[in-house]
């Protein structure tokens, strides 16, 4: 028996050592530098989505331009799987040399010593002045820039069906929530949902609704203080409780399709495009989704509007939550030439190489790049560009700037509030407890 136990113990130890990882390749057989990269921009998804296609093309272009000295080995993962893959690899301290990452991971990766400081490379970047304001903010920790932005994301866009709202008696989308609530009976008569909503994955409500509604109730200073982890603000503050009361009101109002908690935002967009709903509130990615599945005559009928204002609310009524949710980071294990090359790659795919491509297909991106000569856009993209241009201010995207665990707890509480299964006060206590534990 003793022998068998010894045998199993030895096998256990040997197997744990044998599979404990190996040395990574730093240069190829022809002497070129090897950099491994993981990205969430796959060939398949790029076929129908320019928000994936353009960054992918920028990466491939960099690899081609530097092919003499660099062997860039890119591994692509489906967007939906990417988060789990990267988190698992981060946990195993096995991140690639360069990797696409979420803004909300930066603080965690920084605390864990996983990402390299790119400050000196960013400050020396020739196109630094061309970047849109505030894009580096979610990737900046203790004054150090830890990643480069890969998008300019507007997460709160009101897409509305012009014909349906006209039939309900509105020439354009209402500017106040009171008017929106007043329109509910008219849409009920028409057999149409006022707002198509899909919150299956829970982030949708936070990202597309709360990011813009938050400052309207609590003020931008309050939101910025929360992002900074200040102990001078709390989620139990009366202004946040008012926001939560409004969330309950939204959930009970009859605005949404009844299955909103089990369908996602793309399902909601489908309902909207089929004319079964008069509105949907989603991010800029929905522009590409709609352009990919709807006919031009349907898209002609899509209007863009800002989140309606609330009675007694504060903040800018034509603000939209915008910023960068996805970044490119570099592994902290890289040093010297390899670090410099990886930083060069991260900046290249984030700068005009990406931005020009995005601008030319009617999307707003990281840099203020004008469209190339002769480029024309369809009505949907023209309307989206006008929406971004006419927004008088931007407010931070909550789930790109706040701690991921806090956001997860918040998302759970919003689901409960929308369903009327908890009270604003109880939800605020739960969120505050997580805030105190994570700030």
């Amino acid at each position: 028996m003793k022998r068998i136990i010894t045998f199993v113990m030895v096998a256990f130890l040997v197997s744990s050592f044998v599979f404990a990882g190996g040395q990574k390749e730093e240069s190829s057989s022809d002497g070129r530098m090897v950099l491994a990269m993981t990205s969430s921009y796959t060939k398949e998804e790029s076929a129908t989505d320019n928000t994936r296609k353009m960054p992918r093309e920028a990466i491939l272009e960099y690899a081609e331009l530097n092919a003499d000295t660099l062997d860039l080995q890119v591994t692509e993962f489906q967007h939906n799987d990417y988060e789990t893959v990267i988190q698992a690899r981060a946990a195993a301290d096995d991140l690639a040399d360069v990797f696409i990452m979420k803004g909300s991971w930066v603080k965690n990766f920084y605390d864990s010593g996983l990402i390299a400081d790119l400050t000196e490379y960013v400050e020396a970047c020739p196109w630094l002045d061309e970047y849109r304001d505030g894009l580096f903010f979610p990737a900046t920790v203790d004054g150090k820039i830890m990643a480069t932005p890969m998008q300019f994301s507007t997460t709160s866009v009101v897409f509305y069906n012009k014909e349906l709202w006209a039939a309900a008696g509105y020439d354009e989308f209402p500017s106040t929530w009171e008017e929106v609530f007043a329109a509910i009976p008219k849409f009920e008569e028409m057999g149409v949902y006022p707002i198509a909503f899909g919150n299956r994955d829970k982030w949708q409500f936070n990202s597309s609704w709360i990011s813009t509604l938050g400052p309207r109730f609590c003020g931008e200073d309050w939101v910025n203080s929360v992002i900074a982890g200040s102990d001078e603000v709390a989620f139990t503050d009366p202004e946040f409780i008012k926001l939560l009361e409004f969330v309950v009101q939204l959930g009970q109002s009859g605005l949404f399709n009844p299955d909103y908690s089990v369908v996602d935002n793309q399902n909601a967009s489908s309902l909207f495009l089929q004319g079964k709903a008069a509105t949907t509130i989603d991010g800029y990615w929905n522009v590409e989704y709609m352009a990919g599945i709807a006919t031009p005559d349907i898209l002609e009928n899509v209007g863009f509007a800002y989140m309606p204002t609330v009675e007694g609310g504060i903040g800018d009524p034509t603000s939209a939550s915008s910023g960068c949710g996805w970044f490119c980071g570099v592994n902290s294990k890289l040093t010297g030439e390899r670090l410099a090359k990886a930083a060069d790659l991260a900046l290249y795919i984030s700068g005009p190489a990406l931005s020009q491509r995005m601008t030319d297909v009617g999307l707003v991106s990281t840099c203020n790049t004008p469209p190339s000569e002769g480029v024309e856009f369809d009505t949907l993209h023209e309307n989206y560009l006008a929406f971004v241009d006419n927004a008088t201010s931007t407010v931070p995207i909550w789930d790109a700037n706040m701690n991921a665990s806090l956001i997860a707890v918040m998302n759970d509480q919003f689901v409960e509030l929308l369903a009327g299964r908890t009270t604003p006060e109880a939800a605020a206590e739960v969120i505050q407890a997580e805030y105190e534990a994570t700030r």
Partner: protein, 292 residues
């Protein structure tokens, strides 16, 4: 034939033991180790002893998820093993026609992945285009039309039905194998003695396939205590936490909230609770003396 030496036995055994250690023991030991740390992933972690387990003991969502696992297990024991037993008895009866076809049809869902099954049933339950609501509308029962999986009171039971559908054939095959092992002369003698079908089932068949049923029970419990993919696809644990299960909660902690240490503690919790329940059930089912 020359007898093999002991060292040769060990050499042959070393390969599976080595693989078993790598696949099972190393990850379990790893989870146990990481559960003692405040760890968000990466090389930096802080040793906090059993603090994660103290938090786990008072974590309402974890215990709620545990209860959901138990509910799913009970539903599946009744639905999967119960119905599988009935189907196996029917298929084992003498008058049954097209036996192979029935077997194939019943077993077919078992070969589908949980993800495929989840998607199929998600489509059936869909509010706007789902077959169930379409049928209700067709027969004029419009008042029962609803977003099925959004109903927090029913979501768990509705999520369990596809599990029953999927695994019924699997347990049926196991039970059929148990039934095939019963000596037909025993049944014939009982028939001659005047035992009716119910008496034969209760006093002869059931005691003789008891060990097979215990195997089914153990498989059903262990399978449902670690259920993940099916729930992940169908409801994502929602609405709210209405269908959340322990494995999904471990995943959410580890990969959504970056609490790798706590996620590991949840995994260890799942292991302990699963072993505990399996042992209790085996004790309860094997406790009777063999004097019938």
């Amino acid at each position: 034939m020359k007898a093999l030496r002991r060292s040769t036995y060990f050499a042959y055994l070393s390969i599976p033991v080595f693989l078993y250690c790598f696949i099972i023991l190393v990850p379990v030991a790893g989870a146990l180790y990481y559960s003692l740390f405040n760890w968000a992933g990466g090389p930096k972690k802080t040793f906090i002893g059993v603090e994660n387990f103290i938090t786990l003991a008072s974590d309402k969502v974890f215990w709620q998820s545990f209860l959901h696992n138990i509910e799913i297990t009970v539903i599946c024991i009744i639905g999967q093993i119960g119905l599988a037993l009935i189907l196996a008895l029917v298929l084992n009866s003498r008058g049954i026609k097209l036996r192979q076809m029935h077997l194939s049809v019943a077993y077919f869902p078992a070969i589908l992945s949980a993800v495929v099954v989840g998607f199929i049933w998600q489509m059936l339950y869909d509010y706007n285009n789902g077959l169930i609501n379409d049928v209700l509308a067709f027969v004029g029962l419009d008042e029962y039309i609803q977003p099925w999986l959004a109903n927090a009171d029913m979501a768990l039971i509705l999520s369990s039905i596809p599990l029953i559908w999927k695994n019924i054939g699997y347990y049926m095959i196991i039970i059929l194998a148990g039934l095939a092992a019963i000596d037909s002369s025993v049944i014939e003698v009982a028939e001659i003695d005047g035992a009716n079908a119910l008496q034969r089932l209760m006093h002869i068949v059931m005691p003789m396939i008891r060990n097979t049923l215990i195997v089914c029970l153990t498989l059903c419990i262990s399978g449902n205590m670690k259920i993940f993919d099916h729930i992940y696809v169908m409801t994502g644990g929602g609405p709210g936490n209405a269908t959340n299960v322990m494995a999904l909660y471990a995943y959410q902690n580890s990969f959504i909230r970056y609490r790798m240490g706590y996620g590991s503690a949840v995994s260890v919790g799942i292991l302990i609770l699963s072993i505990l329940i399996t042992v209790l059930v085996r004790r309860a089912t094997q406790g009777r003396p063999e004097n019938e």
